[in-house]
Amino acid sequence: MNSHRLLPRVLVVLAVSIASGAPIACSNEPVVFSRDILPLLSDRCFNCHGPDEAQRVTDLRLDTESDAKFMHEEYVAIVPGNLEESELWRRVNSTDPDKQMPPKDSHRAAFTELEKSLVRRWIEAGAPWGKHWAFEPPQRPSVPQLADHPIDAFIRQKLESVSLQSSPPAPTHTQLRRLSWDLTGMSKVADGPDPKTNLTADIWSAEVERLLASPQHAERMAMWWLDAARYSDSDGFQADATRENWPWRDWVIDAFHNNMKFDQFTLEQFAGDLLPDATPEQILATCFHRNHMTNGEGGRDPNESRVDYVIDRVNTMGTVWLGLTLGCVQCHHHKFDPITQQDYYSLAAYFNSIDEDGKAGMSAKPYLKYRSPRVAARMVEMQSFVIQCEQAEQLERDLATQRFNNWLKQRTQLPTNYRLWWTLSPEMASSDGTHFTVNAENIVQATGPIPFQDDYRATFTVPEGLERISGWSLEVYPDPQHAHGKYARDGDGNFVLSGVRLQIQTTGSRTQREVEMTSAKADYERDPKHKSELDSRYGPVIMTLNDDARDGWTTAGEEAPSEHRAVFELQRPETVQVGDRVTIMLRHRSTNGHANLGRFRISFCAQRGEPVRTVVGSSPLSEFYEHQRQSDTIQTEIPEALRQRLFEQFLLDDEDYQTALRRSTIVNQQLKQLQQESSPRNIMVLSERAMSRENHVLVRGVWDAPGESVARAVPPAVLDLPAEQVPTRIELARWLVDRRNPLTARVVVNHLWQIMFGRGLVRTPEDFGVQGAFPTHPQLLDWLAVELMDSGWDLRHILKVIATSETYRQSSDASSNAISVDPENLLLARAPRYRLPAWMLRDNALAISGLYNPVIGGPPVKPYQPDGVWAEITMGRFDYQPSLGPEQYRRTVYAFWRRSIAPVFLFDSAQRRVCEVAQRRTNTPLQALTLLNDTTMLEAARVLAERATAEKVEVTDNPQAVWESRLSWLSQQVLSRELEVVELKAVSDVWDSAKMYYATHPEAIALLTQVGQQPASTSPEVAGWMIVASMLLNLDEAMTHE
């Protein structure tokens, strides 16, 4: 290894072995069966010669030693010590397409030269067999005498073998940030050590303890667990109904906060309901196994769903505790690992007799009625916020009253050409062939062909004087020439209007904007009691707004046909200009057909309130003008009732008041929601049915194809216990955390390692099976696993052990040598450097800006998301209203999680549909956009800017010193360090351009700074610092675990 001459070749082997995650034996090292040979056999051979008998094409098995070395008719696959006699060796080297293995049509790669040499050396060495490493119980290995800390010793042992060394300690501030990110998910939590102090072992240890004890640590660990547990606040399928399981999330946080030992943590989540004298919290814990998706789709067989849920539980247990891809075994024996379908359905049997019936929504029994202790405090906080908002509304109302009085005073003259309704002449078009005439009164008469259904488009050109549209009216007329003298020209003469739309095309534009309407009133609607051939769904005019052709407006059933009128209100008045084109679409797509309007007229209104909300169409403004006209003198007192109505109409156009009103309306809804949450919730939990269900293997995994009977039992390949010792979920949980179970402790410490180093010692945390990655440091993994069990499954203990190693504390800066030898940093000659999860970036932005609300637990909250993200995917079934007030600034662990549309600011996150334990880490332009433009990030920048400018500065007469001092404060907040001189230049360029721009654009300052719940600022300084703060928040360093 030291010989320079040998370097190129060594490098090849090394790079290969390091990058593979499975350090292959170098030519001078013995071949290790479980590391070097078994994965090869598994990958290339087991598909046809493995545990799954259905796939076996000959009777040869290569997954058992006895069979691989057994005489099969004319050959032996592996003859220890004898290459020439080993059929496997001959086949691997064959170039004959009929003989070579793996065969071409298997689409499995041929053995490489390197792999062949491993096989050769292994057979020559006597082909020693063994179990897959992960199925051998871990033994505590002896620690190499290379360092005081066992972790460092194991790490350095590997490094020495490739002549690498650990890196020096990271800078103090980096170490503190790293520790805080890993243990709490934020770059700092109040009252940490001064970054200028020397981090002695004692100080470091105390800091580790402090963070481990913090509630933020419990929340951070909960985030890990919630992803693994596929926790969500909604069902996932079909209507994606909302659940009430959030108290379980608080149970998880409490468990971590109390450092509940992992064996107990397991037991309560698997079998809290079965424990003697189970507390409500222990029963609550079993919600873990109810966090799967549920499907309440109309017409779905609930039993099919129920079987899905049982399967999901087994798979989740397999991934989270055992690191086994049990999902494969649902349909067939495992192709690679020694788990049979019988094993699988024997495990499923533990979950098969839950007292559930496969339903979803609020019928997903069994439930626990549970009142969360965490709502009361939320209510108090919310109530005081409601009072604030209501006071603000009242204040605005008072101000609006003054504005109204001023407005009244200015009505000194009656306006010329005042019009309430604008009746215009349309250009008519039909989709299905109707012709039209328009008379002098702008009444439209249908003529010519009479199609079964039709969409009419009436297009109007906006005239002088009509400055906005707040609503429109439709008058429909009977006519003697129509069928039965009614409204339509055929059928029974009744009309059915199935939908209306309104679109505006601005002059010069080729596209139209769709305008939403919020109310529709008519002077007559079909009496619900009226029975006829006509589909009973047709009647109310409001049903014209959903554009669903199966319902709509009709006047069928009235005694004598007469003129009728409907009035439609726009969601918001639309400003229009002379020449703009307004199209009203009248849709006649009724089920019955033959009901197209024959004669009608359309008018527009510019006023808000009564004219477009009532079918009478009264107008306080018109009445006011009328009153003035009739009075002798202008400005006489007007009747109080009219004055009041006029004021209400005025308020509708008073934007400042409307903003305050919207706020107080929303917070009142939030308070109401909390009140509901304070009563006992229905938590989905486990409980056994009185009568057990029969347990079967499901043929090919199909829910209604039961095969042979099975009974509850644990898979013997993992840890064989007689079935009578494992009768219930209690014993199943104990089996998982049995000292002799080879998997659980390893899998768990691997998760903890991933929490601290970004990736596990086993790169495939979900798969410890034969196809998974071999550990980079198998001895270290085992040492930690045994340490975990010896500590009584104390997770915090392991985190502390890891945190106090020098390996953890070293620098992440890389030398070019280290990069070329170990590009993926598998050997940890440097600390890993990687982008942090999106949820941490959000939480941290809240924390360092000071927005952070540290309250723990309670009902889910709604962080900012762009408008419409729920509505557009659920076709309006759900709309998303971000939380107002302090609830907005709570950690992401409390964010409402809707499965059909997970929070959109969380890129690369787990999807919470099925259990996920691996990290995703990509680097895309969409992430850049999110961090640049997400409201939380911008609001944090805004608040940081405000605080930076408020920073007390001692030297006041030197603007440069003031500037540097503010920047220094800002960079301490965001990066926990001072900027270096070379960096100052880059920042000052940005600052200069921002400052120059905002100094001359006050209106832009207001727009920029009025973000989230922040008021507009007028200070160019604040705007300038906001730009700088946003830039710092987007630095690679700010989002990276260094």
Binding site: A549, V770, L926, L1035
Partner: protein, 491 residues
């Protein structure tokens, strides 16, 4: 221990998943970013040696007939009986019970399993169209005019009878969520053709009515593939892509200056830490900046001539409509986006075919046909594969009172119709057939996985070779069951 993991495992994409076979360019993008040059060349040299038979697979590995796909997804299950699958024999059998010999134990959803299965013949009238004489229902008059450009596959089969599992299967090959969608596979296998837009763009019709079937984001999710392959939803709002718009009060000049500063500072950090991920991040921020221009340009239809809107129909002037999305699909195709997927919801006509089903036809008919015409006149149809279809079909029995106008049809998995056009497809033909009841496939069944295999084939990809290693298994879009390329529909 195997080539896949060794060569392609990449910290920077998914921590523990490994593409098994992918062309070198994708490999370089994915794995190369965190490898020093030296180690990279060593690895690549080893790759050549290791693979034995040569390089990792380059896609396209077959002569491609199509460069891109436009997938017009009709969510809810359009009725093949009213639209394409003409069964005149049924008029004689109207109101009679569906013979058991036809039903053969087919599962029904809970909505109709307790009612008699009485035959409801098509309530739409059919006629023949084009030289090919395609039978098309009267509710699709515009599609009828382009019949000779289309290939109708009338023998599609699925095994799912509920929406979410069926649509998940239709798009990802498997009924449970978690697998990558077709478009993600295309992006992953074939890589990008342009620098300013995502590879996979999704457009959803804006509807007023709350549809009963949400369009879950896993329909275009990347599953276990790196998330940069996931579909990017183009929204019909002032912010066409989430977070695209800079905050109000921030002009482009300030954004540019901020990104310049950011890039300088990040570069300084790179020089110290040598983490090449920082260089990637600098590039991603620059691409984000470019997208802030390229996407609004794409979404802004003001440079389209009047004739475009006349072709696609009056609804195309309304942003967010299916028709407007069809225009956008053509614009995306012109810009070489690899996979363009439209979703039109609410084809779930359990009742009232003459209003419910008709409405969806009115929404989509003219624009779907216009897209074909438009692509053709621009020379894009030759290398653009257009697919139209939903997750399953509908049953021949009436749901509700069969002879009332209020009758509808329940879900039906055993046969449904999709049509394809362009991109190497034989136009003016029908493939496969159903029995007299449009209930069972009578000849040439086409499984969902066969459709996927065929579409991949047209893109120049052997579906058996496009795979990704996850949890120790090599996953493919077409799954493990045998699937076939339907060669008879290829020109």
């Amino acid at each position: 221990m195997n080539n896949g993991r060794r060569m392609l495992g990449s910290e920077r994409t998914d921590a523990n998943t490994t593409p098994w076979a992918v062309h070198r360019r994708a490999f370089l993008c994915q794995a190369g970013v965190n490898l020093g040059g030296a180690a990279l060349s060593v690895l690549l040299a080893e790759r050549g040696q290791a693979a034995g038979q040569g390089e990792a697979i380059h896609f396209p590995n077959l002569p491609p007939r199509a460069k891109r796909v436009i997938f017009l997804t009709q969510s809810g299950g359009p009725s093949q009986l009213e639209l394409f699958d003409y069964k005149p024999q049924l008029y004689k059998l109207a109101g009679t019970e569906l013979p058991d010999s036809v039903r053969q134990g087919q599962r029904l959803t809970g909505m109709t399993k307790d009612q008699k299965q009485l035959i409801l013949p098509s309530i739409a009238k059919f006629s023949r169209h084009g030289y090919s004489g395609a039978t098309i229902g009267e509710w699709l008059p515009h599609i009828a005019k382009v019949a000779d450009e289309l290939c109708f596959v009338k023998s599609m089969v699925t095994d799912q009878i509920n929406h979410a599992p069926a649509m998940t299967k239709f798009l990802t090959g498997h009924q449970l969520p978690g697998r990558p969608s077709f478009g993600c596979w295309a992006s992953y296998g074939l890589g990008s053709m342009n620098r300013n837009l995502p590879d996979y763009v999704v457009l959803i019709s804006k509807m007023k009515r709350g549809s009963d079937q949400p369009l879950y984001d896993h329909y275009w999710g990347s599953g276990f593939l790196p998330s940069r392959h996931q579909g990017v939803k183009l929204r019909s709002s002032s912010e066409p892509v989430l977070y695209l718009n800079d905050p109000e009060g921030m002009p482009r000049s300030i954004r540019r200056s901020m990104l310049d500063g950011l890039s300088q500072l990040n570069q300084q950090r790179f020089e110290r830490s040598q983490d090449s991920e920082i260089e990637t991040r600098i590039e991603q921020y620059e691409m984000a900046f470019r997208m802030q221009t390229s996407i609004p340009e794409l979404a802004d239809l003001s440079d389209e001539p009047e004739s475009t809107f006349e072709l696609y129909g009056p609804d195309s002037r309304r942003p967010g409509s299916y028709a407007a999305n069809c225009i956008l699909a053509r614009r995306l195709a012109e810009r070489d986006v690899r996979f363009i997927q439209l979703f039109h919801p609410d084809w779930d006509h359990h009742s009232r075919l003459s209003s419910w089903c008709v409405s969806r036809c009115v929404d989509t008919d003219q624009a779907s046909a216009a897209l074909i015409v438009d692509l053709k006149q621009r020379g894009l149809l030759d290398d653009t594969l257009v697919i139209w279809g939903g997750e399953f079909g509908r049953g021949v029995a009436g749901q509700g009172q069969w002879d009332s106008p209020e009758a509808g049809r329940d879900h039906h998995p055993r046969c449904f119709t999709v049509w394809l056009s362009g991109g190497g497809i034989r136009s003016g033909m029908s493939y496969g057939a159903t029995d007299d009841f449009s209930y069972n496939v009578a000849e040439n069944p086409v499984q969902v996985r066969d459709l996927h295999a065929t579409a991949l084939h047209l893109l120049g990809v052997d579906h058996e070779l496009l795979s990704y290693r996850f949890q120790g298994l090599d996953f493919r879009l077409t799954g493990v069951e045998p699937s076939r390329v339907v060669r008879d529909i290829i020109a």
